[in-house]
Amino acid sequence: MRVLLIATNQADRYMDRMSVRPLPVGLAYVAAYLDTTRHHLQIFDCMFADDAVTATLNLVQHFQPEVIGLSIRNLDNQSYLNSVWYLPAVRELIRHIRAASQAQIVCGGPAFSILPEACFDYLRPDVGLAGDAAESFAQLVDCLERGVSCLDVAGLVTRDGNHIVVQEGQCAASFHTPPRLDLLDLQRYDKAGFGIGVVTKLASYYYPTSPGATHDSGNGWRIRPVEEVVEELGRLQRDFGIRKVFFIDSGFNVPLTQAKALCQALLQSGLRFRWNSYLRVGEGDAELIDLMRRSGCALALLNTPVGGEEAAAELQTSLEQTRRLTTLCAQGDLPFTVSLTFGSVGETATTVEQKLAWLRDTQPAFATLRVGARVLPFTPLAKVAREEGLINSEAELIKPTFYLSAAVRAWLVDHLRTAAATQPRWHLM
């Protein structure tokens, strides 16, 4: 079959500020699992397209795909002050494709997987794939080619009359097959800064690791073997001249032994890379920070729990835990960024001042001050949002929705703007 894969993401800012073009790694994995001895494959990446719709339609007309897979990376830019919702542009793209092609349209990707039913209902593709779609997309295409039922494909989202049905199952890719990075414009992504994405570990509720664990967050790490990561780095350097990567990992430092093993392997490999990644508050020691620095880490992005959904009473504990990691980074001469949320449940003038004082004292390389907490489905905050009437159902959360406590709502933005005015490394979003 002729298969066209489209990376729909065009967002080029991280935290609504830093210039970052994230490589569509997920789509490169999807491409890798497709049997190209039987299927003709093309990838179109909207990231660098001036007019993504026209460029897509030209390709559709030329290539005449029978299956079109669209990967959707983010629902929105998570910015309260400059909110951008990405799904309408994808729906528009699908509408244009439908008018020009009879191809089966398949939607997937991390954003789609947060709320598969609601996204499916809004975007109206023929089929959706929730979770990692590397193996499942290949399975789906094979079924379509053979003309057999594909209803048992894990994570498959379909319409059955008035209902949208998600097929339960293992929706987590093994990642053992290397991603088809050769199909992407790596040189341009390299030039875009922040590094080429390399998966080291995945865990979050976008990527269910077992049936029923769809909405687990932070559990069930899928850790990529160190040797596979080093092999991919070698390939990136040898085949593409890449020397800067971003380790896709919601907590590079967890578990600690794995993190140290990867740093040591990098040092022993002789590969000289600069890299960035996320650190999760809770684990870490001076040895790890030293290993990270020596193996090429230039910037650690701290995944701070502060100000999210924890009770205000626990704020001091959260700040102290985060401080432990920021102190290690500072002592190890490793630049770090932090992001704090202001205005979530229980926020008061006192807790706002506590956080600002903490930020001034901590002096991160860059700080993001998030106004309001983006409500994500199946979280304690979503429950509060429902109870307080901010939303009626979790399905509404496909749109950018922020919780901003009534106690601080009237003055918070002005107050944070005033505080940030004297801090060039603080950014409000």
Partner: protein, 96 residues
């Protein structure tokens, strides 16, 4: 390669960006340079410098206007050969 300081900085050198940079990767030599230079090997891509520039001289390399493309190489060159970089700056300025 990351943030680049382009032509508008020449003979301005406001230096607000140097205060914003968390890793002190923006340099110049007083009395010798006509612009500031960002070290591509030290820049951590945080973008803190960009909004500080009063003459909009700082860009992520990929967003650098085509007419200022040479400044990516000029910034890098300064850290290897300062005089060569200065000569290129003079040449670019003379043309404009």
């Amino acid at each position: 390669m990351t943030y680049v300081i382009a032509e508008p900085c020449i003979d301005v050198m406001d230096q607000a960006c140097t205060k914003a940079c968390p890793v002190a990767c923006i340099h110049f030599e007083h009395g010798k340079d006509r612009k500031l230079y960002s070290d591509p090997n030290e820049c951590i891509d945080c973008g803190a410098c960009e909004p500080m520039c009063p003459v909009e001289a700082i860009y992520a390399e990929l967003d650098l206007p085509t007419k200022w493309d040479p400044f990516a190489a000029i910034d890098a060159l300064w850290y290897d050969d300062k005089n060569a970089a200065r000569a290129k700056v003079d040449a670019v300025k003379a043309k404009s």
